[in-house]
């Protein structure tokens, strides 16, 4: 049943851009970008229980990798994506090592510090990293190209995430999330799996960051990776439902399409409408759907199954 839904969704996503204007194709690209970033964060926070408010930093790293490779070495844009994945994976592991000693609020603070400081680096090393005037890729790309690439990456990374999480590694992650002591005593090597989770999660964010820069006309600049970006990804993951892959699409749709809908908020208007609507919806989701959209899906699924069981005709 789930596979049928996925197949239909895949076909719909593949055909969608041909019916959309360039502007709406652009919006769909942002949904794909947030999809990938939220997926990565979900692996770290939802499945392994390590909170991070710093994924904007990994997006920045990935974005700048792509821009520098394109600007300085004229590398093919798609070829920069695996490099971005690899480099941010390494950065994620590096961050994960000291993070072994931290948890909860302290880990959140440490990753928050990352979110604040990393995007400032291009201002410090402005000769190499472009400074406040930013850096540009060597050529721009069309909306439809970007749509194809970003949703292909989303599909590939979703598959990677799914394969990772359904096997031994996924079980180890969930064990760590539920109880580190129990996991350790069951033979799960905590340091390895926890840093691996950080690495994978960061790698996903890195690819999202590369696509994010490409969606910004190939222009990378520190202001694009402000702290709010990290918070948005976390909120998207919470709305999606931590610990489940199926709600990620809803979380991404929420974050990606919100600016579009909140621009026409009555009374408050467009300049603060986005912030107000954002805040309101987050509060509502936390109150009514504490397990996010995935929780809602799970409840619907179980009530559907109960309905079938109790239906004498169904057997």
């Amino acid at each position: 049943m789930k596979y049928a839904v996925i197949a239909i969704a895949a076909v719909a996503v593949a055909l969608l851009p041909f019916g959309l204007s360039g502007y709406h194709q652009g919006l769909a690209v942002y949904v794909a970008i947030y999809f990938i970033a939220i997926l990565g964060l979900n692996i770290l926070t939802g499945y392994t229980g390590q909170i991070s408010i710093g994924h904007g930093a990994f997006m920045a790293i990935g974005g700048y990798v792509t821009v520098i490779m394109s600007h300085d070495h004229h590398t093919n844009l798609i070829a920069t994506l695996p490099v971005s994945f690899a480099i941010t994976f390494a950065c994620g592991v590096l961050v994960g090592i000291p993070a072994l000693r931290l948890s909860g609020v302290y880990l959140a603070l440490a990753t928050f510090a990352l979110a604040v400081s990393v995007p400032q680096l291009p201002l410090k090393f402005s000769k190499f990293l472009g400074g406040s005037n930013g850096l540009q890729t060597d050529h721009a790309v069309s909306h439809i190209w970007l749509y194809g690439v970003s949703w292909s990456c989303a599909a590939i990374l979703f598959l990677v995430g799914w394969l990772l999480l359904r096997g031994r590694i996924g079980r180890a992650f969930r064990a760590i999330r539920d109880s580190e002591v129990a996991a350790a005593s069951s033979g799960v090597a905590l340091p390895i799996y926890k840093t691996f989770a950080f690495g994978v999660s960061a790698a996903f964010a890195g690819v999202a960051g590369s696509l994010f820069v490409l969606a910004t006309n190939g222009f990378a600049q520190p202001n694009e990776f402000a702290v709010l970006l990290s918070l948005k990804i976390l909120i998207g993951a919470a709305v999606a439902g931590l610990g489940s892959l199926w709600g990620v699409a809803v979380g991404a749709l929420f974050i990606g399409l919100l600016p579009e809908f909140s621009a026409s908020v009555p009374i408050i208007g467009s300049s603060h409408g986005e912030d107000v609507v954002f805040g309101l919806i987050v509060i509502l989701v936390m109150l009514l759907l504490p397990n996010g959209f995935a929780g809602l899906l799970a409840r619907l699924e179980s009530s559907f199954k109960t309905a079938i069981k109790s239906d004498p005709q169904a057997s």
């Binding site: 402005s126 005037n133 969606a215 006309n217 222009f219 202001n223 694009e224």
Partner: protein, 414 residues
């Protein structure tokens, strides 16, 4: 499918293809987007929220001016519909906003967008779509030099390196024994200013005893001020954004240093910032800068300032307080909007995007009431900088004082 069915399908298919071809052929007659018989639609991106939101008075003033023009019949009977979008100074928001303006809202031109990075993020896209990106609110000189590659982009205000040359020439001429200490932001913004200063100084650049830079990420410039003092500088030149400038002035006083002359760049010379610096203890008297707009506080008798006051009262009452306090951004906004209307009036009875650019590339008018008296807006095939004149100003009156003009209007600052 029977034989009749196949014929029917073939005919229907042919009709469909023919219909599409005909529509495409007619559709190929491109009407200029954003212009109807009664309306001209334009839009721009500005930091209405975020760290740079103090500039939001600029689009507010521009809208007020367009409302005034619309009340007086518009331009050739067309009213100007100005859409203001917030990008929070974040290029990743500027790009979708610009895309929205062009592809969803179908604007005639992108007007007045603020910020170097936001403009750099969008000029490739706008130029490749042949959408005018006009009168951008940033003083970097890229827009003046790039007419060949980005012909649809043009700036308005005097550029930063040109302004820095003015300071250089002034020092070389008037302060022969200066020991110059320069504080500049360590990126393209600050370095372009510093390079302009050295060009303006000419041989006098040997008098630079020290140049200290600070990172945009760390506007605490105390170490740099102390270093400049210790190297014996008596003429301080500060090329910084408002916050570090205010900090530099206050810090100089705090460490007991009184340079004989201090120069600050025009971007940081808004009267509101000077009052802020004075309130933090800085020595503001005698600080020198430049301006190119009329002053709402010291030039109240000018027709342009009187008009500006009337516009604020009628169309933008929320700006009254800052106007009265001397926020130069408001008259700046009026000046830019005036220029756009002037260009529209010279784009023919039925403006097209190309005719708008032609008008902006051939400006030659001294009638802008909002710029400093005597300033001419001039562009040509060889000159893509609309304003290249400035006048030096000096602060007097301490914590409640104001800028006073010094000397004559300087021409050809570049």
């Amino acid at each position: 499918m029977g034989r009749k069915g196949k014929i029917f399908a073939a005919v229907a298919g042919a009709a469909l293809v023919a219909g599409i071809a005909v529509t495409a052929a007619f559709g190929a007659h491109h009407a200029t987007p954003g212009i109807t018989a009664t309306e001209i639609k334009i839009g721009g991106t500005f930091p209405l929220t975020g760290a740079a939101s103090l500039y939001k008075t600029i689009p507010a003033a521009e809208k007020a001016y367009f409302d005034y023009v619309n009340d007086h019949g518009g331009v050739n009977g067309r009213k100007i519909n100005f859409e203001i979008l917030d990008d929070g100074y974040d290029p990743s928001r500027t790009v979708p906003a610009a895309t929205q303006l062009v592809e969803k809202d179908g604007v005639f031109a992108v007007f007045g967008s603020l910020g170097t990075a936001p403009t750099l993020a969008t000029w490739g896209y706008l130029n490749s779509h042949k959408v005018p990106q006009v009168l951008v609110a940033t003083g970097d000189s890229y827009w003046g030099f790039s007419r060949k590659k980005y012909p649809w982009t043009i700036g308005w205000q005097p550029d930063y390196p040109g302004e820095a040359k003015v300071y250089g020439r002034y020092i070389a001429a008037k302060i022969p024994n200066a020991k110059i200490g320069v504080l500049f932001q360590n990126d393209a913004y600050g370095k372009n200013y510093y390079a302009g200063l050295r060009v303006g100084l000419g041989e006098a650049k040997a008098k630079i005893v020290d140049a200290e830079s600070y990172d945009a990420t760390n506007p605490s410039v105390q170490q740099q001020i102390i270093a400049l003092r210790s190297k014996g500088a008596d003429t301080l030149v500060v090329f910084a954004t408002p916050v570090p400038t205010i900090t530099a002035l206050a810090t100089a006083k705090a460490v007991g240093w009184t340079p004989t002359t201090t120069f600050i760049n025009n971007v940081s010379a808004n009267r509101l910032f000077m009052l802020s610096a004075a309130s933090k203890g800085a020595n503001v008297d005698g600080v020198i800068s430049t301006t190119y707009t009329a002053s709402s506080t010291t030039q109240k008798d000018l027709p342009g300032v009187k008009l500006a006051q009337a516009l604020v009262n009628q169309y933008a009452p929320s700006l009254q307080t800052s106007f009265a306090a001397g926020d130069g951004n408001i008259i700046y906004g009026f000046g830019v909007a005036w220029t756009f209307v002037y260009a529209l009036q010279h784009s023919g009875k039925n403006p097209t995007r190309a005719s708008l650019m032609a008008a902006l590339h051939n400006l030659n008018t001294s009638k802008n009431p909002f710029v400093y008296p005597g300033i001419k807006l001039q562009t040509s095939a060889k000159d893509n900088f609309p304003i290249e004149q400035e006048i030096m100003i000096k602060w007097a009156g301490g914590g409640t004082g104001d800028w006073q003009p010094v000397g004559k209007l300087l021409n050809g600052i570049r």
